[in-house]
Amino acid sequence: MARPTGKQLSVTQQAVRLKLQFPQEQAPTVKANRLIWSVTLQPTPMSIRYTVQICYQHRRRPKVTVVNPVLETRPDEALPHVYPGDELCLYYDDEFVGTENFIADTIVPWASEWLYFYETWMTTGFWLGSEAPHPPGTAKI
């Protein structure tokens, strides 16, 4: 992944890239160094279309949630690979840096992959995507 050298990526640059890469989607709303954007993702031809919302504040971790439909879970099991608030866990450590990497080229395809592995998890109970090492003392599901 080529990272732009020199100057740090701004929220506006992130928004411009999203608009450029996803012309069929509504352009992101940018306000006070913060962007909000929704995208429709369908990871496989048989998959339903998911509306995924991305909120990004400069230098912070992008908050990625599936807003439609409400994600189902397996009986008596919580969603895997989510932060509190069912925000999708998409990367580990510095695999994404908001001032260096475009959301359009990383977070968005990663969300599609998350949805793919969510679907296989729903059927099998196993998360089949590569998992990052977990912090000490936390159980791996």
Partner: protein
């Protein structure tokens, strides 16, 4: 091998195909059965009896039997022929059955528990003897050569319920079946030759064309559909013959299976008012003979055939996503092989992803097509522990 199917139809075919692969016999189970029947063959050859494999093992259309609870550990059923080289005039049906029965009983008595290749029990069936082993059983069909037939492999067999000798030709049947998919058969052998060294080294019973898969799919669907109704279920010989006659060379599994069930009725004849599906390798043998004795079996066959068609249509029309598709498929083929198939496909996708071969196309579609945009590498972090 397609990793991420580009269309709905291909995705369904991929899932059906991977599901049926989970129900195919494993190499280990096949080798174990092969050792057992070779061992039996060695012993029976001393008594001038020739032992060989027939049926689904030789055809390559074996499916793991459905045991009802879905964990898939039913016993495989291996069909063997024990051909005694004697003239019809010198032996009666009963004598032949007894002679082979005695040989098998002696074999069992001499070798019981001695080594892994020996059976744990011998029992008698209507036409055959059954040898019981760990994980499978072998049905041994006593027969003599049919001297009146033109085919070298034609046989005559005994039947407890019928007075006349029954004619058959299981080896010629296998030849017929392979001719129905001759082009695909050769193509598949070329593919497999990479693991066997040469095309000629590929054992024919290991080849799986789309027609083989169609037969396995239909047999599996039959096993589930008739799980509580064993007596009236259509026999594999009938399904295999109708599928073989209906196959038009489709390479896509969904299209091939749909075509097979839709065309099946065209291949059921009426002869003097009787339903007739002739054994293509043995004129006069009617695989649908039971339909003429029990009307209900024909009706249940037709209901089942329609159910297959409806299930396939249901897959195609499913609009509630992959999870709903997987559920539909589990109802048709059992949840264990479907879950296993989804795991296999998911793991394969992840390997491709790690190798940088999964790309991102318009609409969020994941693809292995190189024209789409590459997805940078990442790992899914966190989990419930963070909550």
């Amino acid at each position: 091998m397609t990793i991420l199917a580009p269309t709905r139809d291909e995705q369904i075919s991929q899932l059906i195909g991977t599901t049926i692969e989970q129900l195919d016999i494993t190499d280990a189970a096949f080798d174990a059965a092969e050792r057992c029947y070779h061992d039996l063959g060695d012993h029976l050859s001393d008594a001038n009896a020739e032992v060989y494999v027939q049926g689904s093992f030789l055809l390559g259309t074996v499916v793991r039997p459905y045991d009802g609870d879905g964990d898939g550990d039913g016993e495989y059923d291996l069909d063997l022929v024990a051909k005694l080289d004697v003239a019809k005039t010198s032996i009666t049906q009963q004598e032949l059955k007894d002679k082979i029965g005695d040989l098998l009983t002696d074999y069992h008595a001499d070798y019981d528990g001695v080594d892994a290749e020996s059976p744990s029990d011998v029992s008698e069936g209507r036409r055959s003897w059954c040898l019981h082993y760990a994980g499978f059983h072998m049905d041994v069909l006593p027969c003599i050569p049919d001297a009146s037939a033109t085919s070298d492999t034609a046989i005559e067999l005994t039947d407890r319920e019928l007075r006349l000798w029954q004619k058959s030709d299981p080896l010629e049947y296998v030849n017929w079946f392979r001719k129905q998919c001759a082009k695909q058969f050769e193509e598949e052998r070329v593919v497999l030759s990479k693991s066997y060294g040469s095309v000629d080294a590929v054992p024919k019973h290991r080849v799986r064309t789309p027609l083989h898969r169609v037969v396995q799919i239909l047999k599996r669907h039959r096993d589930i559909y008739f799980a509580e109704d064993h007596d009236d279920r259509p026999p594999s010989s009938l399904i295999t013959t109708l599928a073989g006659r209906s196959y038009l060379g489709e390479s896509d599994l969904l299209a091939a299976t749909m075509g097979a069930v839709q065309r099946m009725p065209q291949h059921v004849e009426k002869r003097s008012g009787a339903y007739w599906v002739e054994n293509p390798a043995c004129s006069g043998e009617n695989f649908a003979d039971k339909w003429n004795d029990y009307e209900i079996r024909r009706l249940k066959f037709e209901r089942w055939r329609t159910a297959v068609e409806q299930d396939l249509t249901g897959f195609l029309q499913e609009t509630n996503g992959t999870v709903a598709l997987n559920q539909r498929m589990s109802k048709a083929f059992g949840s264990a092989p479907v879950e296993q198939a989804v795991k296999v496909l998911g793991a394969r996708t992840n390997l491709a992803r790690e190798a940088g071969n999964v790309n991102f196309a318009t609409g969020g579609l994941l693809t292995t097509a190189a024209t789409a945009k590459a997805v940078p590498s990442h790992r899914f972090f966190g989990g419930q522990a963070d909550r």
